[in-house]
């Protein structure tokens, strides 16, 4: 407007007013363009701020696979954010990754959220994150349920074994050591994998390991208050009366280790265990399923002889029932007898005796603390003795047997002594030695000298006799044998097929046959004509059938 006004110098033309008015209209119209631009810009700004989510910082030990501006943050494979920048911490021990989360991922900037880098991993228990080989690593996220906001996180170095909100429950196991277990080791129930180990840590006093395991729903209902957990790692080889047995949960556990659980046989509590129940991790299935041992008692035994073959962990048996194990084998010195007795310490579990223990306790009575020594006092009075016996003749391994020996000498037993000391008797081998030595003694008493002399004389006599036999008897015998030989030869000749004797016999037999035939004809005739005996032969014609030979025979016969 101003420019057109400035340019309008010629005075002849009028119409200044409409020009001004129209130009005012034009002025307002063209300024719509920047206003629209401004509106667009503002709307972009607003939408940007509206869509911007929280900014968080996650620290990792290594930035392997993470790229600023590219690496995405995913939850259940949905992108919820992106790494914007990455920098090294001041002390260079870790890196800090700045992440811009999406607006709707606000829940991931709260306490309890876990972040980890998903990379391809190959472990004993499987392979994961293969897809990241091509797409590059990403950061996995798992939200907690806290509402408390948090912007600084420490990233996990390994993916968490259990994602938040997964159905199932956690339980705690106590073990002496970790063994070959690791985070992610499987948990089996009846050889089906139902869970895994999610974490482990040393107990505060350092005397054991606490493992946390997660049983996936709905199988977590099988964990009852009385369930027993045992370490299913490796192969369990046992040689029993029915042959060699190999037992393992699965091939994977042989390498990677695992935990199995089951309810003990027999009556037990079937109530489902609450979350975070604590259990003991047994070393093998047999011990796990055995009835509970109760409190162990320490006993000490003093053996006066060598215990070669007795190792720590050797069983202690009471009348054949395994009630405990040896925990120490130490040498002692007795200055009075200048001998070296062996002191064996053992833990016994009185509860393994079952009913016997209950009845004994009832019989003895009294308070629980001194119950065990008093029971032992009673048993020792009845002849209970400890004995080192050979459990395996091949390897010579010994075990401690607590047995009643009716012939045992009375010993003093102090029930108040700590630890309880069980009297001992010499072991099997010592008995054997004694017996062998007594046998040797008896053998020594045999008069081998006189026996030898007598035997010598007898042998001389025998020698003379034999000479005689050789000189006189043998030539005679030879002659006799020759005679026998000859006789046998003659007999042979006589009996041979073409000998005259044979032929004679054949002829005689033939003759005999003929004779018999004529006798038959005669008797037939007599049968028909009995009167012939008195009157002689009739004049009737001879029968047609009769042959001349039979007539002849009849004539010859009378």
């Amino acid at each position: 407007m101003s420019d057109t006004n400035v340019g309008s110098t010629p005075p002849d033309d009028d119409l200044p007013q409409p020009v001004v008015r129209k130009s005012k209209l034009g002025f307002s119209l063209i300024w719509v363009v920047p206003i629209v631009a401004a509106l667009v810009g503002i709307s972009l700004l607003v939408s940007h701020f509206m869509s911007a989510g929280p900014q968080i910082t996650v620290s990792f030990l290594t930035a392997e696979g993470i790229e600023a501006g590219k690496t995405q943050v995913k939850y259940k494979n949905v992108v919820i954010g992106k790494v914007t920048t990455m920098r090294l911490s001041r002390d260079r021990t870790h890196i800090s990754v700045m992440i811009d989360l999406d607006k709707d991922a606000r829940a991931f900037a709260t306490k309890g959220t876990r972040y980890w880098v998903v990379r391809p991993r190959i472990g004993a228990s499987g392979v994961s994150g293969i897809d990241t080989l091509l797409s590059g690593a990403f950061i996995g996220a798992d939200a907690g349920d806290s509402d408390q906001e948090q912007n600084d996180f420490t990233g996990l170095e390994t993916p968490p074994a259990v994602t938040h909100g997964a159905p199932g429950r956690r339980f705690v196991l106590h073990a002496g050591d970790l063994g070959s277990l690791d985070i992610g080791s499987p948990v089996y129930y009846r050889r089906i994998q139902v869970g895994r180990i999610v974490s482990y840590e040393l107990d505060k006093d350092g005397k054991g390991v606490s493992l946390q395991l997660f049983i996936d729903g709905p199988n977590d209902r099988f964990v009852s208050k009385d369930s027993r957990f045992w370490n299913a790692s490796g192969v369990d080889v046992s040689l029993g009366a029915d042959g060699l047995k190999m037992n393992t949960q699965s091939l994977a556990t042989v390498i990677a280790g695992g935990v199995a659980f089951q309810d003990p046989p027999g009556p037990h509590e079937t109530e489902v265990a609450p979350e975070m129940s604590e259990y003991t991790l047994f070393n093998d299935q047999a011990t796990a399923l055995a009835p509970p041992d109760g409190k162990p008692r320490y006993i000490r035994m003093r053996f006066e002889h060598s215990l070669r073959g007795l190792a720590v962990d050797a069983p202690v048996e009471f009348l054949g029932v395994k009630v405990g194990r040896v925990v120490s084998v130490n040498l002692d010195y007795d200055p009075e007898t200048h001998s070296f007795p062996v002191v064996v310490g053992a833990l016994v579990y009185p509860q393994r005796l079952g009913q016997a223990q209950e009845k004994l306790a009832k019989a003895v009575g009294g308070d629980d603390d001194t119950l065990f020594p008093r029971i032992m006092a009673g048993l020792v009075a009845h002849g209970l003795r400890a004995q080192a016996r050979s459990g395996n003749l091949l390897t010579g391994q010994l075990y401690i047997a607590l047995d009643f020996d009716p012939k045992a000498k009375k010993v003093s037993f102090d029930p108040n002594a700590k630890p309880v000391e069980i009297p001992t008797t010499p072991g099997d081998f010592d008995h054997l030695q004694e017996q062998i030595s007594s046998i040797v003694d008896k053998v020594e008493k045999i008069p081998f000298d006189s026996i030898g002399r007598n035997l010598d004389g007898s042998l001389k006599e025998l020698h003379g006799t034999l000479k005689q036999v050789n000189g006189d008897l043998l030539p005679e015998a030879k002659k006799t044998l020759q005679g026998v030989n000859r006789t046998v030869g003659t007999a042979n000749d006589a009996l041979s097929e073409n000998s005259p004797l044979q032929q004679n016999i054949a002829n005689t037999l033939e003759e005999l046959q003929r004779t018999v035939r004529s006798v038959r004809a005669f008797t037939d005739y007599l049968g028909r004509h009995p009167e012939a005996l008195l009157r002689g032969r009739g004049a009737d014609a001879p029968p047609k059938i009769a042959t001349p030979s039979t007539k002849q025979g009849k004539e010859e016969q009378p």
């Binding site: 407007m1 420019d3 057109t4 130009s23 590059g136």
Partner: protein, 206 residues
């Protein structure tokens, strides 16, 4: 100061299309008697239009630079690049020549246009007769160079049309390039709506 007379001073004006010289009139609805084109001694509302378009362009220049203009996807990576980050990537990737060209076309030229147009408009509004010749030269420079800022837009358009190998690699345009295109168009319109004759109009009043 004696200056050569302007057409207005002589009571004349020319048609922009067929160059027919007619008598001067203030009427905005006057038409050329020969070709029928509208006649005006100076472009109508030239300064305010130029200002409005320039301001709009400046506003759009912000999102054009902030938003990514192009997404390069390959089998293992996905890259969103703004104009500046693209230039830096080119420089780092070992093609500084290309980086310089893109930088000139997408950053230097638009900024120069804003500055020059702003300078021209301010001086015209102030009726300053200073360095009129140089200002006219600047205007010609702006007009000449204006088209080349479209380079970036073309690059993105051509790449996203050509590079389409499914998962192997792909280039996609992102909203930033639209804003950049708007910036370029608006600055060109702004330069067009500016009437360079205004530069000389105020010499008298000085």
């Amino acid at each position: 100061m004696s200056t050569p007379p302007r057409a207005i001073d002589l009571g004349m004006m020319a048609c922009h299309v067929c160059r027919q010289v007619t008598a001067y009139t203030e009427d905005r609805h006057a038409h050329c008697p020969r070709c029928g084109n509208t006649l005006h001694a100076r472009k109508h509302a030239s300064v305010s239009r130029a200002w409005a378009l320039l301001v709009a362009a400046a506003i759009f220049y912000i999102p054009a630079n902030v938003f990514p203009i192009m997404r390069t996807q390959s089998i293992s990576s996905k890259d969103d690049n703004t104009i500046l980050s693209g230039i830096m990537e080119l420089w780092r990737a070992g093609s500084p020549g290309l980086a310089v060209i893109v930088f000139t076309a997408s950053i230097i030229v638009p900024v120069l246009k804003f500055l020059i147009m702003g300078f021209l408009l301010v001086t015209v509004q102030r009726s300053s007769g200073m360095v009129a010749r140089q200002r006219a030269r600047l205007y010609r420079f702006v007009e000449l160079v204006g088209y080349w800022s479209m380079l970036d837009v073309f690059v993105v358009a051509i790449l996203s049309a050509l590079v389409h190998f499914k998962i192997l690699s792909r280039v996609e345009p992102l909203p930033g390039v639209v804003y950049f295109g708007i910036v370029v168009v608006l600055t060109m319109l702004s330069a067009m709506s500016f009437d360079p004759r205004l530069i000389w109009d105020n010499r008298k009043s000085q």
